[in-house]
Symmetry: C3
Subunit: 334 residues, 3 copies
Amino acid sequence: MHRFLDLADFSRDEIGALIELARRLEQHPEPRALAGRILGLVFFNPSLRTLASFQAGMARLGGTSFVITPGQGTWQLETRLGAVMNGAAAEHVREGLPVLASYCDALGIRAFAEGKDLARDLAEMQFSAMAGVIDKPLINLESAMNHPCQSLADWKTLDDLAVPQHAKFVLSWAQHPRALPLAVPAATVHMAAMRGMEVVVLRPEGYGLPPAVMDKARAAAAASGGSVRETASRAEALAGAQVLYAKEWGSTAHYGDAEGDAGLRAGLGDWCVTPEWFDLTDAECKFMHCLPVRRNVAVADAVLDSARSVVQREAHNRMTAQMAVLYRMLSRGV
Amino acid sequence: MHRFLDLADFSRDEIGALIELARRLEQHPEPRALAGRILGLVFFNPSLRTLASFQAGMARLGGTSFVITPGQGTWQLETRLGAVMNGAAAEHVREGLPVLASYCDALGIRAFAEGKDLARDLAEMQFSAMAGVIDKPLINLESAMNHPCQSLADWKTLDDLAVPQHAKFVLSWAQHPRALPLAVPAATVHMAAMRGMEVVVLRPEGYGLPPAVMDKARAAAAASGGSVRETASRAEALAGAQVLYAKEWGSTAHYGDAEGDAGLRAGLGDWCVTPEWFDLTDAECKFMHCLPVRRNVAVADAVLDSARSVVQREAHNRMTAQMAVLYRMLSRGV
Amino acid sequence: MHRFLDLADFSRDEIGALIELARRLEQHPEPRALAGRILGLVFFNPSLRTLASFQAGMARLGGTSFVITPGQGTWQLETRLGAVMNGAAAEHVREGLPVLASYCDALGIRAFAEGKDLARDLAEMQFSAMAGVIDKPLINLESAMNHPCQSLADWKTLDDLAVPQHAKFVLSWAQHPRALPLAVPAATVHMAAMRGMEVVVLRPEGYGLPPAVMDKARAAAAASGGSVRETASRAEALAGAQVLYAKEWGSTAHYGDAEGDAGLRAGLGDWCVTPEWFDLTDAECKFMHCLPVRRNVAVADAVLDSARSVVQREAHNRMTAQMAVLYRMLSRGV
């Protein structure tokens, strides 16, 4: 495997094989598999799970990693082509990233959406510009519209819990003090569709996912026997749901407009997931969230601390799933 | 060993065995003892010695570590139970810490005193809340009122230097531009008492250690044949002292009140340890300090640069003592 | 090798042997050569290449490294002797550095010029004060007036490209938004002179390198059959040049005077290296730069993206050259 940038680049069988490999490495550790291999991790945005799980995963396979955080101990990196660099950024990604790539065997990059121009973010302009200058194996640690490591971990979590392939999966918008990127909702709706689930995106008016995101998910659903639809009706969405996946994101109707978004979300205080949300769902309905989560803003304590919450397993599967990706990319025997 | 949170959780024999193990690992390195083992280090507060000595110690035993610094490359973590998280913290320790623990084999956490409510800090409310959500082996890297790694290193230093068990040990307050936490003085008075020493806490009025701290130290002294007393008289304290351990801390009479503390400490400029302090002590009196130290504010150059200063040995013993703790916690053979 | 602080401390044969060793380790990796060895890296100033290349290089040789960044997760360190430390710095290098050295097998330190007093920076007052308290092997990761790791990498790059020993080597000043330190130009002019090249320093009036720097380079040239001269004439400098090495630095006529420097550089907008600069050079003239570089301020895109640019090879050679240094310092068999 040379690149792990988008779950859509892989077939369902390939995803299944990755999850199988993740399980094998859980049960039969291979602490020397990546001995001498080096992973570079570049974080343009903050991280906790990704930072820790990749370092720990590499170490569990015998490899090493180093971390670069532009702007923090390292200068800021410019991403615009042709820029006259007389501002804050002291180095261009066209120099910085190939250099870092030349020191390691694989590179992971996190670069959130710019959050100004939806078309630009949907086109992954920034991440693509960076990917284009790197010839080493590359992992997307979260880009403008994707988070394949999270999605692979979530897929494994659904499998671990034996959630049926065609179960009803609700991705629900949740409250947050400000507009967050679309990467996780976009990746999640696609992942669940690709897995073959009955996917319902539940969100208030003004927070519909972009047509390009929904179309990509629908294409995946068509191939897997799943379905994808959107609604603003909580009752309709939650009825019989077997998975409720909550996520915060910014208004697409006011993309890049913090004030417009704030005006909309001010009236949405009841989009904090509480135990009552599960009155309509399947009795066994699981609660998922990629974390970090703001307790009692996006999700109530009583949900996060309940038996239906599987957020810890999702987070732990970040490491197990990523170990499979790293193994495929870097182990010499495969 | 599952937890290393407080020296008081161990018997004198257990401490002795740890110091013995530290010596054995110094003389007979075991560079593969912790191969494949992973230590997570979480710093809510800055660190130099702890950060470097734990990483180096793990590496010397063949293990790996990763570092998480909330608020710096990682979002801030909320610690209050039931909080409505609409402020700066993006994640709660109830999610973040179990996740990090799930990636590693042992976790170390540094979380200084909140410094507002003495009773709350004495009860270790914050550290306990964090320890309570972690089921992996856990190390206290300095909490509100404790610093067991420093105390174990100091105990080993006293043993290395063959300081007699019942020698006179003076813990003296020292000047600093602002009120520092009570963790090191509280841990130090207990450590010296537990070792059986004649402990004198020398401090100006308004800087007495909390009764709970003194009572705990006195109980330890009672079991070890030592003693613990307090005084504001430098002459009385230093007479015949074999160890002078200087430390800066905030006024307990003005706990959480920076202005009140500043008013008191403004008149205490002569609480900078100078060579003259040793006129009354035993001729061989050692000078100790946990570092970092502000030269010529808390301690004069002439003391730190003299042969009686053992601060470098103390700091080096941070690594050797911690290696024994890590070995006990994580080596599969023991 | 105990210290790697200045290329001038080594003979040409010793440099040649280091480059030979670097090549051998490229062709025949020794992934266990430094097993169990620990490198401490202390960055008083930001870094990308140095941070990543040293960590990756240590890992490729089987060793481990830890990183300390004073002021960022670690308190600031005081360097002045005799200081009354009542300001921002919580610890003195006289405590902090020996402690860090005691945890590792070799220490690397980056500490840029203070940039106020040229004589003080030329004397390497700050770096020397730090080197003086460390008894472990020590590497200069860039000091006020030196950057031996960069120079060794550049020398290897010239050898890799078979640039003739006596070729014409132009070190040219380049534009930048503000005054940068003299470390790289000072190290580069000396390196090229020591290699035996015909060195021309091309710079506008007010940006001449300090006499002490030029004299040191001339002494090296005298021993190697090279030469060193300065000019403000681009035509004279570039005629027949086989290497053009661009670098930004501050006015020596206005050292420590940001306003004076800004006044001078405001009129120097045409000191951005463009393809036209190569009209006069040898057709095969290589373009070098140590990076980071501000595109279209110091160097035009069309130069950096051309085949004559070897900046990526220089940066990659940071790792290969440093691995030779680490191997010489730390491998037990040598």
